[in-house]
């Protein structure tokens, strides 16, 4: 009788199935052997448009569609390969030269082998993602060939063969197969076959390929045959170029990192600490690491202790002995003064600590001895012993002109790159185009930072344009804050309604009206800043027969147009928010939706999501209703126009009356909020007027606040709070909410002691109510602006508000400190914020309008969404501020003026002045100060003048070109 045995009787099936054996070891030390099947097939196409055979049996998906072929029939040729060529790079080429490969001028028709793709994925996830997006985009014609699954190209690892050798062989086998296959295909259609060119920098692999008769070349050789070889060569990772130089480097500058197991054990048993490293804004030789086991941040002083960490890196630190603990520096130190005359080419190993650095540190030490008595101000110090995760990204900046050797015209040289972000050290860059790149805004990536090098080493990525040209600077700013500014891809635009601008709300009773309430007869109007195109919100109010009021907030129904998980939704989710720059708006949604179909424009019918309250005349909410609706806005007001309309006693039409009701209610809402302890914080907001013709900035004014501003604000807050409660009730684990943590009292320590010393005022910070009240008390009868100044400084002591999903925090932590409410979300601006769109979808599901998409009830996916929008939101704010700063600089160009400023911060060798008129802030450095009284915050200058904290000073506002960033910036000097 038959018995059970390993049965693969049919020899033909023997060919098509193979197995992959691999061994996986878990963190716990457990080792498992895993055997997986692999099905080998013959229907994987070569995807060349030359090939008819593959096209004929191209596979189809469940909808009977097959993928279009990618590689062109007439690929570009080079001097070497006249009849055109397809490229087949190996793994290292992608790892080291991704920037060059992404360049528009070269690297078309590329075959990405599955072997290579998998290796790239294992080595670097970011690079893998970039490679995948290249293969998805059509224009570069990248094709992923699944060589591991094709019978002819599958390669079994031989005995004694290393994995790398096996993979190299797999690439050669695939290359050979392709070559033969394409030749056949070309012969059948009587065309000349393009060459298959294997790209590798591995010498052994190259030699083997040559002996097997394959076209192969190394990257340098290939790129040299291209037109813009210099530019492309610059974009190749320096780790590749530097190999031979590295060998003959001298001594080490920095201490070696601990091994990973050593760090892990250390962190676990408490001898080492883990945290995120932040460079100080004012002192480039100093940084801090916040670790869970210490209340205070750990101070990292000096480049040696910083040990190659860059702002934002995840690091492991070791505490220094207590006698080395220090006070946070009260000096201003920037990189410029320290390393002015260094040469990028020469690595001064011997001068580990340059003379200037040393002097700065000694000064520091002296100061600490002097203030031994204030031992409570001493901070624990630490040194970095390892970096767990690098926070490297692309940096925007320019080439330091001093580091360029102008005489040397051709060939490679090493130059210093100065990033715009002052927290990032200068980067050494190898370039062949140093002279061309001078005066250009460029992008650079960091490759490595070796122990032997004082500075990180990077490579050139691309040039954005002339320094100070508007286009280059705007793009630089967007890149620096990682704002996605490219035009919307076609896949996104395809998700828009096909009617385009002609789309209208359909007839009542037809599709689209299901579960929608007809609110077209309500007298709704919108109030926005002048010139606003994306109108998110509209309002109405009326008196009810029972003496109560009905007030309604109507929000653009974006979730009707943006369905979950389509291309448009993905794009919006990754953009996260609309970014407002001075002269430009980077939309989250395509403008057709944002400024037309969703925008609640006047006089036309629009879909809306309405929150309608019944309120008592004291603005107490009796009843809340949420509904999708159709509205027709009667008028779109600017704040000023609305204010005039309300103030104009002769207007008594129902719309104006409604607005008066809204205003009356909003005042009561505001009072109630203030009584609960909401903070009224100040941030310097300025508006820049542009000359309409040249679009150059002409003048600056501080934004004016009207009653109608707060009218709109109060109702939006009210709507957000109501919606937050509703979605939290419906989705207790995953509601999209926003919280603002109470700042730790220590954040206010400096400000409190400053206020006590200078003005004899006491700031109470135990609750937001106490803070609000004591802030009200911070007045100087002689100086009206003093209160605003204190508010601005207090705002900086706060924690940032953040989005979160309700399952990640306990209910008491939901509190919004600034608004003094127990729960809050963002609901009212879905056109420009993704969080609001998510809240819309959750609310729609909560009122059973439609089913909720999985991303919004799955905890993990929700966390990913929240994390992204928090980052995007913060970056958008930074970008907006940087844009204002840039334009203020441009507006004040060549206009040196004397202005009033206030001293906001004081150091032993300088102070920070805030100029309210322009909303700018600048540091004034004092080379030699006579005395500095750290307790009274008084700095006496050489000439006997005294600079006192919080006092008014006269300053000259100039605009100069900043050496460090190549950007025009305001500079203040004492008048």
């Amino acid at each position: 009788m038959t018995s059970i045995k390993r049965m693969l009787v049919d020899p033909s099936s023997n060919d098509s199935i193979t197995s992959k054996v691999y061994i996986r070891s878990a963190k716990s030390g457990k080792v498992t052997k895993i055997v997986r099947e692999i099905y080998l097939r013959t229907d994987i196409p070569c995807s060349s448009r030359l090939c008819r055979a593959c096209l004929a049996n191209a596979p189809v998906d469940s909808n009977n569609r097959s993928r279009p072929f990618v590689l062109s029939e007439k690929p570009a040729g080079t001097t070497q390969y006249k009849h055109g060529h397809y490229l087949m790079p190996d793994t290292n080429i992608f790892l080291q030269c991704m920037d060059a490969i992404e360049h528009k001028s070269a690297f078309y028709d590329v075959i990405v082998l599955q072997t290579v793709l998998d290796e790239v994925k294992n080595q670097s996830l970011p690079l893998y993602n970039r490679l995948v997006s290249l293969t998805k985009a059509d224009e570069k014609r990248f094709y992923v060939f699944h060589n591991e699954f094709r019978q002819e190209t599958h390669v079994k690892r031989g005995q004694e063969e290393s994995i790398n050798d096996r993979n190299d062989r797999a690439i050669r086998v695939a290359c050979k197969w392709y070559q033969k296959h394409i030749e056949q295909a070309a012969a059948s259609s009587s065309a000349t076959a393009p060459a298959i060119v294997m790209l590798t920098n591995d010498k052994a692999n190259l030699a083997k390929a040559k002996s097997e008769g394959l076209n192969s070349t190394d990257l340098n050789g290939y790129v040299k045959g291209l037109k813009n070889a210099d530019e492309l060569l610059d974009m190749i990772s320096s780790s590749l170029q530097d190999l031979e130089k590295k060998a003959n480097r001298g001594a080490n500058v920095y201490a070696e990192y601990f091994s990973l197991p050593k760090m892990n054990t250390g962190v676990r048993n408490g001898t080492l600490h883990q945290g995120t490293f932040h460079t100080s804004t004012y002192n480039s030789l100093e940084g801090t690491v916040g670790v869970p086991s210490f209340d205070k941040h750990l101070l990292i002083v000096g480049l040696e202790n910083m040990n190659r960490a860059i702002d934002g890196d995840q690091v492991v630190v070791e505490l220094l002995p207590q006698d080395q603990w220090k006070k946070q520096s009260d000096k201003l130190v920037d990189q410029d003064t320290l390393t002015k005359n260094e040469n990028a080419d020469v690595d001064e190993v011997e001068a580990i600590v340059t003379e200037r650095e040393r002097r700065a540190l000694i000064d520091e030490a002296k100061r600490i001895q002097r203030s031994q008595d204030e031992s409570q101000k001493v901070q624990p110090t630490a040194k970095i012993v390892g970096v767990l995760k690098r926070n490297w990204r692309s940096y925007v900046g320019h080439i330091d002109p001093n580091s360029v050797n102008r005489a040397k015209s051709g060939g490679q040289q090493v130059v210093f790159f100065r990033p715009l972000d002052k927290k990032i050290p200068r980067i050494r860059v190898f370039t062949r185009q140093a002279t061309q790149l001078l005066g250009q805004r460029i992008v650079v990536n960091i490759d490595t930072w070796d122990r032997t090098s004082r500075f990180p080493v990077g490579h050139f990525v691309r040039a954005l344009g002339e320094l100070e040209s508007k286009e280059a600077e705007t793009e630089a700013l967007l890149l620096e804050y990682d704002v996605q500014y490219r035009p919307f891809p076609k896949a996104v635009l395809d998700c828009l309604p096909s009617e385009g601008h002609d789309w209208i709300v359909p007839e009542k009773g037809t599709s689209g009206w299901e579960k929608r309430v007809d609110l077209r007869d309500l007298l709704v109007c919108s109030i926005d800043p002048p010139g606003c195109q994306d109108i998110d919100d509209a309002l109405h109010a009326r008196l009810l027969p029972n003496g109560n009021y009905e007030a309604g907030v109507h929000i653009a129904d974006v979730s009707h147009f943006v369905k979950p998980n389509n291309a448009m939704d993905d794009e919006a989710a990754s953009r996260g928010t609309t970014v407002y720059l001075v002269d430009k708006r980077i939309d989250m949604l395509p403008p057709l939706l944002g400024t037309d179909l969703c925008s609640l424009k006047p006089y036309v019918e629009r879909y809306a999501f309405s929150v309608i309250w019944e309120m008592t005349p004291d603005a107490k909410i009796v009843n809340t209703k949420f509904t999708k609706s159709v509205i027709k806005s009667r008028e779109a007001f600017a704040y000023k126009a609305a204010q005039m309309r309300i103030d104009d006693k002769s207007q008594t039409d129902p719309l104006t009356e409604g607005m008066r009701i809204l205003l009356m209610l909003s005042k009561k809402l505001k009072q109630a909020r203030m009584d609960a302890g909401a903070l009224n914080l100040a941030s310097p907001e300025v508006k820049i007027h542009m000359e309409s013709e040249t679009s150059d900035p002409a003048s600056i004014e501080v934004k004016e606040l009207l009653e109608t501003n707060s009218l709109v604000e109060e109702f939006m807050l009210c709507a957000n709070i109501s919606v937050a409660r509703k979605i939290y009730e419906a989705f207790p684990q995953t509601a999209m909410l926003r919280r603002h943590g109470a700042p730790p009292a220590t954040n206010f320590d400096d400000l409190r002691s400053q206020l006590r010393a200078r003005k004899g005022l006491d700031l109470r910070v135990e609750s937001s109510k106490a803070l609000a009240d004591s802030l009200d008390g911070c007045v100087d009868p002689q100086e009206a602006y003093f209160n605003t100044l204190v508010r601005i400084i207090a705002t900086r002591c706060m924690l940032p508000a953040e989005y979160f999903s309700s399952g990640t925090q306990a209910y008491p932590e939901f509190r919004h400190y600034g608004l003094a409410t127990d729960i809050y979300t963002h609901f009212t601006s879905p056109i420009r914020r993704y969080a609001d769109l998510a809240a819309h979808r959750q609310l729609a599901a909560a009122i059973e309008y439609e089913a909720l998409d999985e991303t919004l009830y799955n905890k993990n996916k929700m966390d990913a969404v929240v994390k992204n929008i928090n980052i995007r939101h913060r970056n958008a704010q930074f970008a907006g501020r940087a844009s204002i700063e840039y334009y203020v600089g441009q507006a004040l160009k060549n206009k040196s003026t004397e202005q009033e400023g206030f001293v906001a911060k004081i150091f032993s060798n300088g102070f920070v002045v805030f100029v309210p008129k322009f909303g700018i802030e600048g540091t004034i450095k004092v080379e030699t100060a006579k005395t500095y009284d750290a307790d009274e915050y008084i700095l006496e200058l050489e000439d006997g003048r005294k600079v006192v904290l919080f006092d008014k000073v006269k300053v000259m506002v100039n605009v100069v070109k900043e050496q460090a960033t190549g950007r025009r910036k305001t500079e203040l000097t004492l008048a």
Partner: protein, 246 residues
């Protein structure tokens, strides 16, 4: 990506199926062995015979009992599953219920049919392989059935990128990796009809996806039936030749 799954199959392809009848004819009335990919299951059937205990006696029909044993080495981690293990009991109940409705039990009153299954290796679709093995063993034992019972799994891929934004393809016959990654279900049909006798799903999936998954699963069942039928016929033929040759 590119429409290929992590083992090189396309969305509508089964794994290799190898099946065998009469694998241990000495101590069972019917036996079978099936491999679906690396999922390997051995099944023995005894009966119809006198019921082992009084409680199992039914006056008008045969009782179907089922015992499932997991080999400790069958998964990636070594796990011993006892008689009272939840998963074992679940499988037993599912198989018992399925076959009680398909075996013509009224022909064998006051008797018992025992199905005993040994799972030797698990690589996804364990329940489906068990059901298929049982069908073959029952056929080998000569127990009358309404038709073949064929089972197959299908899963709903989620992250596969798709240019057109339409729903991604359902996957037929998921392996262990896919099973732990995406929602999947097991469906068993009677012969090539679309009559479902067993349907089990342990994950959550959007309701719109379910229909597609079941449809793909049913088409898979039909393919499995073809393979099993061919093996039964081949085996029958060799037996017949052996009998007539002598």
């Amino acid at each position: 990506m590119e429409g290929l799954r992590n083992d090189g199959r396309r969305w509508n392809e089964l794994r290799r199926i190898h099946c065998q009848l009469s694998t241990s004819s000495t101590n069972a009335d019917g036996s079978s062995y099936i491999e679906q990919g690396f999922t390997k299951v051995l099944c023995n059937v005894t009966g119809p015979a006198e019921p082992s205990s009084r409680q199992k006696v039914k006056q008008d029909a045969a009782t179907v009992t089922c015992e499932v044993y997991f080999a400790a080495f069958s998964g990636t981690d070594r796990i011993k599953r006892g008689r009272n293990d939840k998963k074992v009991q679940e499988l037993q109940t599912a198989i018992q219920k399925t076959f009680a409705s398909v075996i013509l039990t009224h022909l064998f009153s006051r008797s018992e049919i025992t199905i005993s299954i040994h799972i030797l290796s698990q690589d996804g679709g364990t329940l489906a392989a068990c059901i298929n093995a049982t069908t073959l063993a029952l056929i080998d034992a000569g127990i009358p059935l309404k038709d073949y019972v064929c089972a197959c799994t299908s899963g709903q891929s989620t992250s596969i990128f798709d240019n057109e934004g339409s729903t991604p393809d359902p996957w037929l016959d998921v392996n262990y990796l896919e099973e732990s990654d995406i929602p999947s279900l097991t469906v068993a049909t009677v012969g090539e009809t679309e009559k479902i006798v067993a349907l089990s799903m342990e994950n959550k999936v959007r309701i719109e996806m379910l229909e597609g998954m079941i449809a793909v699963g049913i088409s898979g069942c039909a393919k499995v039936k073809g393979i099993m039928d061919a093996e039964v016929r081949r085996y029958g033929k060799t037996r017949l030749e052996a009998a007539t040759g002598e």
